[in-house]
């Protein structure tokens, strides 16, 4: 019996011979005509997705007009979670608005708290301490990580990858434990106060964060191994939902959605706050503007957040014992011990709690780089302790507005992938 060797090549769609991903021409560009194989005539079908649907990531309702399987039009309907936060804010003292910010983008509550405190401080002309700025940077970057982890996990599930969901939620749990130890809450953190923080970090908290920074990149690298070169993942994401840089700017997109299209705009770099210009980190930029690039940008942002966290921890070590709150009796409550024993401190305490902090007439807009994009708070004051107008510039709302554009001529299953790639959170869209 003779043996024969046959030469043949094992290939995986989406990978070249060295195992590197190639652009797979699935999804866009699609000539809608080529998909009309059983010609449905002029009859279009309406498919209603949501508002109660796991793949719409919240109470979002999409009405999809289909020609066969090709999407002709998508009409998003929002407002199911409308809570009137902006109106409520006009009836609250500045510090009382902070709990409302938790509930807008509830996947990154700490970053919202920081943004509101910064906007109010800009309005009132208050400067914060160095230690406070470092703590706020930590809050922002931890928020970025947990928000991106939710995005990664849920988008993976939408596209059929279950394991990254478990890994990312496992890591997210560790951040939630840190968040709970710091603020006492897992979701409604209300971490900041105008001029400072609700609380300093507890003893030994840095060690927990250090060990998270040590272990977390390993998990990310595992996700990277699972997804980045995965042929199915590549097939579902590359060249789907493509937006050019010019279009992305014209649609006012921000955050990873904008950067995946190749526009180098990160608020942390271009309009620095909290001393971000003194931290060393890179801003990942995509080039194709498709779902795959959005995934790569968000994945890399998490690595960069860990870099920032490590630098912040080093700075924190040098600021041990430094004050967290600004020493401004107008805005910072006196320590409880002196409020109970010192007449003047008690008066300050009473006035702040009962009357609130009056902001001088004026207006201020401040935007920060939130996980979802540029979150901006626009405050208009008339000299009283309550704002005349508290406007939230909601990044997911503005990013979602381009969904009908992204879904022109794609397949129905791509609508789910594209919607997931925008990274929306309905609490912020509906406010």
């Amino acid at each position: 019996m003779t043996t024969r060797t046959i030469d043949f090549e094992i290939t995986t769609p989406g990978l070249d011979r060295a195992g590197h991903p190639t652009q797979v021409p699935l999804g866009v560009p699609i000539e809608p005509a080529s998909f009309r194989i059983p010609d449905p005539g002029e009859e279009h079908m309406l498919v209603n997705i949501g508002p109660q649907h796991p793949a719409t990531h919240g109470v979002l309702r999409l009405v999809v007009e289909l020609d066969g399987e090709v999407v002709q039009r998508v009409v998003p309907h929002i407002g199911y979670l409308h809570s009137g936060f902006e109106k409520l804010g006009e009836y609250r003292h500045y510090n009382q608005i902070i709990p409302l910010t938790d509930r807008t983008d509830y996947l990154s509550p700490m970053a919202n708290n920081v943004c509101f405190a910064l906007a109010a401080e800009k309005l009132m002309g208050i400067s914060i301490t160095e230690r406070c700025a470092v703590l706020r940077v930590i809050a922002c970057e931890l928020s970025r990580i947990i928000s991106h982890l939710v995005w990664l996990g849920t988008t993976g599930i939408d596209l059929g990858a279950f394991t990254p969901f478990l890994w990312s939620f496992n890591e997210r749990e560790k951040v939630y434990d840190l968040q709970e130890a710091w603020t006492g809450a897992r979701l409604t953190t209300s971490l900041t106060r105008i001029g400072g923080m609700m609380a300093d970090i507890p003893d030994g908290w840095e060690d927990g964060l250090r060990s998270f920074c040590r272990d977390f990149p390993n998990t990310l690298r595992e996700v990277d191994t699972m997804l980045t070169r995965n042929a199915i993942w590549i097939g579902r994401t590359q060249n789907v939902g493509v937006l050019t840089g010019e279009e992305a700017i014209n649609y006012s997109l921000s955050g990873p959605m904008l950067r995946a299209s190749g526009v180098d705009y990160d608020v942390r770099k271009d309009r620095p706050y909290l001393g971000y210009e003194t931290y060393e980190f890179d801003v990942p930029i995509g080039e194709h503007g498709d779902i795959y690039d959005r995934y790569r940008v968000r994945l890399e942002e998490m690595f960069q957040s860990v870099r920032i966290l490590e630098q912040a921890l080093d700075r924190l070590a040098g600021l041990r014992g430094a004050p967290v709150n600004a020493s401004d009796p107008r805005v910072i409550l006196p320590p409880k011990s002196s409020a109970m024993s010192d007449m003047e401190a008690m008066i300050f305490h009473f006035k702040q709690v009962m009357e609130g902090i009056a902001a001088p007439p004026g207006e201020a807009y401040l935007g920060i780089e939130n996980p979802k994009g540029e979150l901006g708070y626009y405050l208009v004051a008339d000299g009283t302790a309550k704002p005349v107008r508290w406007r939230i510039r909601p990044p997911s709302f503005i990013n979602l507005a381009c969904l009908p554009k992204l879904c022109e001529g794609v397949l129905l299953s791509d609508v789910i992938a594209i919607n997931a790639s925008i990274d929306i959170v309905m609490g912020e869209i509906d406010r």
Binding site: I78, H82, I249, S252, D270, D382, R389, A401
Partner: protein, 205 residues
């Protein structure tokens, strides 16, 4: 590189009296402009070399507590290359015509932002392609929630709001346009189709 203040001065030089007021607050530069030439000015700011305000950060409106003060429509502009922000305001007399030209033709991102201002403040944007309510439902008739004359808890009691919600037709949540696409309309029950055809959308008077 021009600062925001210089951009505001250039705008005033180019448009003269249509620029009503230039001011600064908390380091932000603000320009109040007349409604009639606002669209032209925004286009000028977007397209003039050296200005390049290519990014529309936000569109919103402000209603002041003082009823004598005008309602302001606010555009936050940004130049991505020059890293400069500029705020343009259009004051509108509350007793007069609350309409401005839409900037949707300049920035597609203005679509939903202007719809929200319409929904919350009742400002109409002429030439907007799809000016409908966005956060409130389409049959909402109580008014414009972010106006100062709108009470915090709404015009009706909780019981009345519940009654209205239960009395509304479920099809009121579908627009006529949606239902009239293709086959969907024909599949509706006769009574529902009739109600829609006569324009009855479940509104409670």
């Amino acid at each position: 590189m021009m600062t925001a203040r210089e951009s505001a001065a250039a705008l005033a030089a180019a448009f003269g009296t249509a620029v009503l007021r230039r001011s600064e607050s908390c380091g932000d530069t603000i320009v109040s402009v007349a409604r009639e030439s606002a669209h032209e000015m925004l286009q000028w700011l977007k397209e003039t070399p050296g200005q390049d305000f290519d990014y529309l950060t936000d569109v919103t409106a402000v209603d002041y507590r003082d009823p004598g003060q005008p309602l302001e429509v606010v555009y936050q502009l940004r130049s991505l290359q020059r890293k400069v922000d500029l705020r343009i305001k259009i004051p509108l007399d509350k007793s007069g015509d609350l309409s401005v030209d839409s900037v949707w033709d300049l920035w597609k991102g203005a679509d939903w932002l202007e719809r929200e201002v319409f929904d919350m403040f009742g400002v109409t944007f002429t030439n907007h392609p799809d000016l409908r309510r966005i956060l409130m439902w389409e049959t909402y008739r109580e008014g414009f929630p972010l106006r100062k004359d709108f009470p915090l808890r709404g015009h009706y009691s909780r019981a009345e709001q519940t009654r209205q919600a239960l009395g509304a037709n479920p099809e009121a949540h579908y627009s006529m346009e949606e239902l009239s696409i293709a086959a969907a309309y024909d599949d509706l029950p006769d009574d529902m189709r009739e109600r829609l055809a006569t324009g009855e959308r479940g509104e409670v008077k």
